[in-house]
């Protein structure tokens, strides 16, 4: 395929890898259809490209292979960016904010990053917060990396970890369920936004996606998505 953008237009569908295990970015409704921030962004891009959208639910283990084997055109799956990853795929401009926080019940004392020393911290393997936490956590913090968000939350709720690192919105989703153990925000690690992933050497597609994101930021439609799923405005520096 010479040009992914041309292919998409010719095909008339945009195939997007989206998460279904990471609310509020992506999960399923009672009809098992994907829903969430990432899904809305996918639909937005499809709409702007004038093509139908085909959502492909993925996990952190297979989202990149889907892209690399050309089974999807874009990965909109709350991807974080690092130098290593940038060698393999390209990233668009940021399309969503992600506030990484450290959360723990009231009675656990953690004031800052150094306070994680000696603590067991749960995190979802390969997620934005995992990359960030790995960078900044003290050497003697015991980081447990679970397969998916579900594992992380279950570990926290069952007391297998003292502390979780996750997005504020994710923690909010848990709090909304009134669990026996309440993940209260202790401090934010970093605001590390999410990017759309796409194959290397697709300048036309990359440019188009960036253009659509920029336009959506400008016309407030992206902000509407943020309001809907994160119950907050987009940060101005995104």
């Amino acid at each position: 395929s010479a040009d992914a953008l041309a292919d998409i237009t010719a095909r008339g569908t945009l195939r997007v890898a989206v998460p279904q295990d990471f609310p509020p970015f992506g999960s399923v409704g009672i009809d098992m259809a994907p829903q969430g921030y990432d899904i809305d962004v996918a639909n937005l891009i499809g709409e702007k490209l004038g093509v139908a959208v085909e959502l492909v639910p993925v996990t952190s283990a297979n989202r990149i292979p889907y892209l690399q084997t050309n089974k999807v055109d874009l990965v909109i799956s709350s991807l974080g960016k690092n130098a290593e990853r940038e060698l393999v795929i390209d990233f668009s401009t940021a399309y969503a904010p992600f506030f990484n926080g450290i959360f723990a019940p009231d009675d656990v004392e953690v004031a800052d990053i150094a306070g994680l020393s000696g603590k067991t911290v749960g995190v979802t393997r390969g997620a934005v917060e995992d990359l960030e936490l790995t960078k900044v956590a003290p050497a003697d913090a015991d980081i447990k990396r679970y397969e998916d968000n579900n594992g992380t939350i279950s570990a926290f709720l069952s007391g297998q970890v003292d502390v979780v690192a996750t997005g504020n919105v994710v923690a909010a989703a848990i709090l909304a369920r009134n669990p026996p153990k309440r993940p209260e925000l202790k401090f934010l690690i970093k605001n590390s936004p999410c990017y759309i992933g796409l194959n290397k050497n697709e300048p036309a597609l990359l440019a188009k996606v960036d253009e659509i994101i920029a336009a959506a930021k400008a016309d407030g439609s992206l902000n509407a998505i943020a309001q809907k799923w994160l119950a907050a405005d987009l940060p101005t520096d995104l």
Binding site: S1, S60, A61, N62, I64, P65, Q68, T69, N70, N82, E84, R85, L87, V88, I89, G122, R125, G126, D130, L131, K144, R145, Y146, E147, G151, S154, A155, S158, G159, Q160
Partner: protein, 223 residues
């Protein structure tokens, strides 16, 4: 599509891989030793033990054999804490392996016991050995020898099945592979490498078990 394979990350992530291999090996070592022991005990209970105990064991065996390992693992790791039993992920993984292999080896060993000629039990009895002494000294070794190949295959199957312990953050070989590919997005390379390692481990394990069989059963015990 022209994908360029790149294994240059191997050096950097070697410690992660080695640790993963180490944990997988540890899991299978503990699982095999304790699991087979549990299996033998359960097989005794089912084939020769008191009826009520055999009944309990039967329920355990059926439950384990008819539900996925992953679900069993989840119940041990996420479920037991609500009963006040907090286990680390490695302990939980080890227990799950033991419980799982225990159920399978119970059925295998039981078949071996049941294939024992009745004369062996009677010879033991007529030498004034108690039923348990007869089982332990007379029946067990030939029974194990009879089913050793089947047991070995089951151990390899469980070793390969141990991959799912990565889901509770136990840092086995599959965890290592998933960890690496979540950092560098080199999924193919990491999965190919880990598949080859699993294959090598499976072959090695099979050989090892054959060797164990040779030392445990130096003589052709079955007829």
């Amino acid at each position: 599509m022209t994908y360029v394979f790149d294994f240059s990350w191997l050096g950097e992530y070697m410690p992660v891989l080695l640790k993963g291999i180490g944990i997988t090996l540890q899991l299978i070592a503990v699982g095999a030793v304790l699991g087979i022991s549990l299996g033998i005990a359960c097989a005794w209970a089912r084939a020769l033990g008191p009826k009520w105990l055999g009944g309990i064991v039967a329920v355990y065996v059926e439950l384990i054999r008819n539900t996925p390992f992953l679900i069993q693992l989840f119940f041990i790791f996420f479920g037991l804490p609500s009963l006040g039993l907090q286990l680390g992920e490695l302990t939980a993984a080890n227990i799950a392996m033991v419980v799982n292999l225990g159920a399978y080896s119970c059925e295998i060993v039981r078949a071996g016991i049941q294939a024992t000629p009745r004369g062996q039990f009677e010879a033991g009895a007529s030498l004034a050995m108690s039923p348990f002494e007869t089982f332990w000294h007379v029946v067990l070794v030939p029974a194990l020898q009879r089913i050793w190949p089947a047991l070995s295959s089951q151990v390899v199957i469980v070793m390969l099945g141990s991959a799912v312990v990565s889901q509770i953050a136990a840092e086995d070989l599959t965890f290592a592979a998933n960890f690496i590919q979540s950092r560098n997005f080199r999924a193919f390379e990491t999965y190919i490498v880990s598949t080859l390692i699993y294959l090598a481990l499976a072959i090695l394990l099979r050989q090892l078990l054959r060797g164990v069989g040779w030392t445990l059963f130096p003589k052709r015990a079955t007829r």
